[in-house]
């Protein structure tokens, strides 16, 4: 139990970017565009924020706190800019979404390393010194018995951002006019178009929003778990986010639960040498744990999960 409790803050810190990125995937897929480029979008977001933070730290006033959040926002916009490529390829030019996404994933790492080489003279950014750190105690909430110490003391604030975003995305997707149209585009775009819904416009907005959230997730990830951007900063977290999206059955709160689950799985790799029995195993095994758990979870649960019907299909207005 104590091991479990000590794993909690770390797990939530890892979970936050997974949840936020999965929300991005949710918006995109609910509109009918499969977004496997999330891995690349996270990479770009991570690079932009890490690079910017390095420079911001030299500017007076941005040294602590503020600089990080400015960098996160910049990472989000970086991801959004990068996702326009997917929107152009998949929506404007109706290319295959999976192939376009895969191409963007390859492009992202190459692009970020290339720019790093120009800016910093090596294939990674220089190290930043601040980063987003844990909050000692959240005012008021931290004083609640039991829950307070558990969830509002010594926790990285990124998880709070994630939870707020979950609520916002849920509200937009299930309560608003835009959400209703978004979901209809992901299920039966011909039906939406026949009622005057502009399918391409809705999908473009959804892909850009997905880029924004993906970029933010990448930024949060690098600013909480690393001190610089490298080619392996994201190491498959974009794909794990997609797994969380499927595992969470394309529901915002599902993504929240799945994200926390995968966060624990990731932490288990770190804590395994402290858990009896598990610590007998070689260390390579622990590094594999998160991915093995991901695969097992997906095999067990995703067979019944049904995603948006039109996701991944090229939209042809004339199709019957």
């Amino acid at each position: 139990m104590n091991t479990f409790l000590s794993m909690l803050p770390g797990s939530l810190m890892v979970a936050a970017p997974i949840i936020i990125c999965a929300l991005g995937g949710l918006l995109s897929e609910r509109s009918g565009i499969t977004n496997i480029a999330l891995e690349g979008i996270m990479t770009v977001g991570a690079f932009v924020s890490a690079a910017l933070l390095f420079y911001l730290e030299k500017v007076p006033g941005f040294g602590s706190g503020l600089g990080c959040w400015v960098a996160v926002l910049a990472g989000a916009f970086g991801g959004m800019l990068f996702s326009t490529l997917l929107a152009i390829a998949a929506i404007r030019y109706k290319s295959d979404q999976t192939i376009a996404g895969a191409a963007l994933n390859m492009l992202s790492v190459a692009l970020c390393i290339y720019i790093s080489q120009i800016l910093f003279g090596h294939q990674r950014t220089d190290t930043f010194t601040t980063g987003i750190t844990r909050i000692k105690k959240v005012p008021l909430l931290g004083d609640i018995p039991i829950i307070g110490p558990l969830l509002f003391q010594g926790i990285n604030p990124t998880i709070y951002v994630a939870v707020v975003l979950v609520v916002i995305v849920w509200f937009v997707v299930f309560k608003t006019r835009f959400g209703l149209r978004l979901r209809s585009c992901g299920e039966n775009p011909q039906a939406s178009a026949s009622l005057g819904v502009k399918v391409e416009k809705i999908r473009t907005i959804a892909v850009l929003a997905s880029g924004f959230l993906g970029g933010m997730a990448g930024a949060l990830m690098v600013l909480t778990t690393d001190t610089q951007f490298t080619a392996s900063s994201i190491h498959g977290m974009g794909f794990i986010s997609l797994a969380a999206l499927i595992f969470g059955k394309w529901q915002p709160f599902g993504a929240l639960g799945a994200g926390i689950f995968f966060g624990f799985a990731q932490q288990l790799g770190v804590y395994a040498n402290m858990i009896p029995l598990l610590n007998q195993l070689p260390s390579e095994f622990f590094h594999a744990i998160p991915y093995v758990i991901t695969i097992i979870a997906l095999v067990l649960f995703s067979s019944k999960a049904v995603g948006p019907r039109a996701a991944g299909q090229i939209y042809d207005p004339g199709q019957r």
Binding site: K175, T176, R177, F178, G179, L180, R181, R183, S184, E187, N188, Q190, A191, S192, S194, L195, G196, V197, R309, Q319, R320
Partner: protein, 510 residues
């Protein structure tokens, strides 16, 4: 009476086909106006032009006396024109209400959808037009008839004054057809104008006031329905006299081809849909399976053709047990299948027509050394297109998806009858076909019978069953509720059996 739609000199050329050849059409407000024509006569093209889906090459349109340019469906909607498409455009996991309000949502502040208000308005519409559908039900949970009502409500919700129905009865059961006819009448009675695209003469007689007959892209004439009979309509539509009753020669059934013994079949969800059925089918015999849609006919056919596994019982073809055989071996053992769902099982929609004609030729008739033999394939395709009058704009090179439903159906029937299998299983062979095509396909089915082939015919059309079959089995609830000789029964008796009344057995012959 006021003219609400006036189309003048509408012409539309598609590659290889003149779909509309200077068509004139006038529709009076508050009437039910039928558009009658064969498959491919240009009815749907004309209405797609009215609805803004297609732009005409020439001609003009007046709505309520005003000349208009209908550039896309949104313009049509603004002009008060609504269309119920043959293939519904519904989101399967949305509720009825969500589907209806989509694109015209009632909102509170911040763009929050006001579902309550939408549901309320829809309930009111349901009430005033006698449409029975639950606004809160999910589309995937309701019947096809209710889905169609949802489509009608979409138009009423947008205050459409002109409602176009594209072959609305093609997908309905007889009971649902009757309900629809009532709905159409109540729409017209409340001052709405209804345009009904159809090739079913009975329906025109039942509800329409005026009929415009199209043939090969041209207007053949416009008539008051009260002043023209079915035979005349059919002759004008096809361009020759049509034989309504199929000619069935008396002949003796031969050896047993198909034996079904105590067959029990579960559907995909594990529900028992066929409950211990047994029957025989002989050479030179047509055995009909009558019944209301969804009483186990699909599962019975899937089991015989190998698309669903059998839970218990046996299927023998020519004395050989085929219960466990894969589909391919069954075809090779002499089975042919015209499936009910042509999109799911009959055709690959994105293939060319000629490819669909040879898609299941497992033997190497159409290939040499593993390479497709284009010349032979083309020859076969042209032969079938010619023989069965399959109309496709680019001939054998047409992408199947772009063909009309009736012509897709003809293509499947052509392919299967041409193979001339020992046992031909045909489900709804004339669904969506016009009288001319029905006549031809019926004659080809009877020809198979004369050639001593065995035919299992599943149909919801009792006319068809009575005209073609030697024996009729009625299915109700997965069981056979009665077996009759076609010459010794009638629609009324079969209707009772279809409802599961075993009392049909004691029905007195008139």
């Amino acid at each position: 009476m006021e003219t609400v739609i006036e189309m003048k000199g509408i012409t539309k050329q598609f590659p290889g086909i003149l779909a509309n050849d200077s068509i004139d059409l006038e529709v009076t407000k508050g009437s039910i106006h039928a558009l009658l024509g064969e498959n491919g006569a240009g009815k749907s093209t004309l209405m797609s032009i009215l609805f803004g889906l297609i732009q005409p090459d020439s001609g003009n349109i007046k709505i309520n006396g005003q000349e208009v340019k209908i550039t896309d469906p949104n313009v049509a909607t603004r002009l008060g024109i609504g269309m119920v498409h043959q293939h519904f455009k519904l989101v399967h996991n949305f509720t009825v209400t969500q589907n209806i309000i989509l694109g015209a949502e009632p909102c509170k502040q911040f763009g929050i959808v006001d579902l309550k208000q939408g549901t309320k308005k829809i309930r009111e519409l349901c009430k005033s037009f006698h449409l029975e559908v639950d606004p809160e039900a999910l589309i995937e949970d309701i019947s096809v008839g209710q889905q169609q009502r949802t489509e009608i409500l979409k138009m009423l919700y947008r205050e459409a004054e002109i409602l176009v129905f594209d072959e609305p009865t093609a997908v309905l059961t007889p009971q649902e057809v009757e309900d629809l006819m009532k709905i159409l009448r109540s729409l017209a009675a409340s001052g709405k104008t209804v345009v009904l695209i159809t090739h079913k003469l009975k329906e025109i007689k039942a509800v329409a006031d005026v009929v415009t007959i199209l043939r090969r892209g041209k207007v053949e004439g416009t008539y008051k329905v009260s002043e023209i009979n079915e035979k005349e309509m059919a002759a004008k539509m096809v361009g020759r006299q049509v034989q309504f009753a199929a000619h069935k020669k008396a002949q003796k059934a031969g050896d047993t081809i198909l034996q079904v013994e105590n067959l029990t079949v579960l559907d995909g969800r594990g529900i028992e849909r066929v409950k211990g059925i047994s029957f025989d089918l002989h050479k030179g015999e047509i055995l009909g399976i009558a019944g209301i849609d969804g009483n186990g006919q699909d599962e019975l056919v899937y089991a015989i053709t190998g698309l669903l596994p059998v839970k218990s019982g046996r299927i023998l073809l020519n004395g050989e047990d085929i219960t466990e055989l894969p589909v391919k071996n069954r075809f090779e053992a002499g089975l042919g299948h015209v499936p009910s769902d042509r999109h799911r099982h009959g055709l690959i929609l994105d293939f060319l027509l000629k490819e669909n004609f040879i898609i299941h030729a497992y033997n190497s008739d159409f290939a040499k050394h593993g390479l497709l033999d284009e010349a032979t394939i083309n020859q076969k395709a042209d032969q079938l297109i010619e023989e069965f009058d399959v109309r496709a704009s680019l001939g054998r090179q047409t992408i199947t998806r772009n063909m009309s439903g009736g012509n897709q159906q003809k293509a499947i029937v052509a392919r299967e009858i041409d193979r001339s299998p020992e046992l031909l299983i045909i489900v709804q062979p004339t669904r969506g076909l016009d009288v001319g095509a029905i006549e031809y396909i019926h004659s080809r089915i009877l020809e198979q019978r004369e050639n001593q082939k065995a035919i299992l015919l599943v149909s919801f059309e009792l006319d068809e069953i009575l005209a073609l079959c030697d024996r009729i089995l009625v299915m109700a609830n997965g069981e056979i509720s009665g077996e009759k000789k076609a010459s010794q029964t009638d629609e009324k008796q079969l209707g009772l059996l279809m409802l599961g009344h075993k009392s049909g057995e004691t029905y007195d012959q008139p």
